[in-house]
Amino acid sequence: MVEERFDMLEVREALKGVFPGGELVYFPETVSTSDEAMARARDGAAEGTFVLAENQTAGRGRRGAAWFADPDTALLFSLVLRPVGKDVSTWARMTSVAALALARTIEDTTGLEPKIKWPNDIYIGGRKSAGILVEAAGDFLVLGIGLNVNTPRCSFPDALQGIATSLRAELGDGIAISRSALLAEFLKKFGECYPSMLSGKGFSRIIPEIEERSMLLNRKAIVYQGKTQLQGIVRGLGDHGELRMEVPPSNHPIEILSADRVRLAVP
């Protein structure tokens, strides 16, 4: 089956609606959209520079982890951002803001119920459908997203069978979803959420919705980081999107800034 290619007019129009100075960079195939966006940002690319690909040959996640994407069926893009104000501590909110925009997009366009797995993954029906990678250097951020849209279940490699999914696989109706329309909707929703990143008040207003969409909220989870392992009940998010968890025996809340892995104690 031949998959529909991106509609450049639709994508470009959506990008201009959010980032009027944004440049659209399109590749039928590239190594990694984030590699391309990082290179352009280092050379001074403006905020809104948007790298889109039909296929990645070496997509990556956090710390060099491989990111699988079936050619022509996923949404793979990276966006250069240059936040106003250089207080880098606020940049840690980027993953939460992007996750919220992506969850709203999936819900509104498909009717599915995506859940945010803190801080950067989107799950549907207990399986991962999207990942978010944010890389920062100097005065810019690159937001990278990979979302499985029309990927048939059988196309996932054996190692991902049962743990990865796509929107179309979850809908189960065999009808292809327009990746261009999905992307246009994401850009619109991201434009609405992005200003919340830089303001404490703005971010505090969206925290309740992010918590509501969390697959971990009020559940027992285990957090692994380096040699450290913690188990407790997730109670929400901190002021910068930290994972707030009650850990026995004292059960007083702690805030977790980073983790190699987080999983539910009882799936």
Binding site: R62, R63, G64, A65, G85, K86, D87, V88, S89, T90, W91, A92, R93, M94, T95, S96, P119, N120, I132, L133, V134, E135, A136, A137, G138, D139, L141, L198, S199, G200, K201, I222, Y224, Q225, G226, K227, T228, Q229, L230, Q231, G238, D239, H240, G241, E242, R244, V247, H252, P253, I254, E255, I256, L257, S258, A259, A265
Partner: protein, 195 residues
Amino acid sequence: MPADTSAPEDPGHFRDRRTLQKKGASRKKSSNSARSTLEYKEIKQIVELMDQHGLTEFELDRDGDKITLRRGPAPGQYTAAPPQGPVPQLQGPVIVPPAQTTTGGSAPADEAPAEVLPTINSPMVGSFYRRPAPDDGPFVKVGDVVDEDTVICIVEAMKVMNEVKAEMCGTITKVLVEDNVAVQFGEALFEIKPS
């Protein structure tokens, strides 16, 4: 798969919310204002000197009048909102100049004082990574010559991977933090001998 119930050995990546709540503001004056002898003009001068010399923290105790001034967020704490007014904001790693030699120190007079080198400090709270990926070699090691644009580590918070650059030319003389541990804002990460 590790056992789920084992106690954490090192809760270094996790912040205790109660501890945070006890911490004071990043700029405080502990004396009674009625008997304060530190005037606004003097404080302004101190702030200007801190800016001039790139200092991140200053403490003064004069006849019971105490003042602590810090640039940027307090250690282990984020600023809740971008600072108002012309407060210096952090753009990259903080490079702390060597401490001033003090008179009356405890070092024996016949020993040359050890060379105190500047450090490159963390621009944010997060996890410190010496390597781009767990199986890769380190960004830099002791003896490496770096320049302003050399990426020396990554500090991560909430999966935002923040590249830290050396911001100066020199040779790395010490790595002060273990790989994959939590670091605070302003914590010294590397010692560097400027060239």
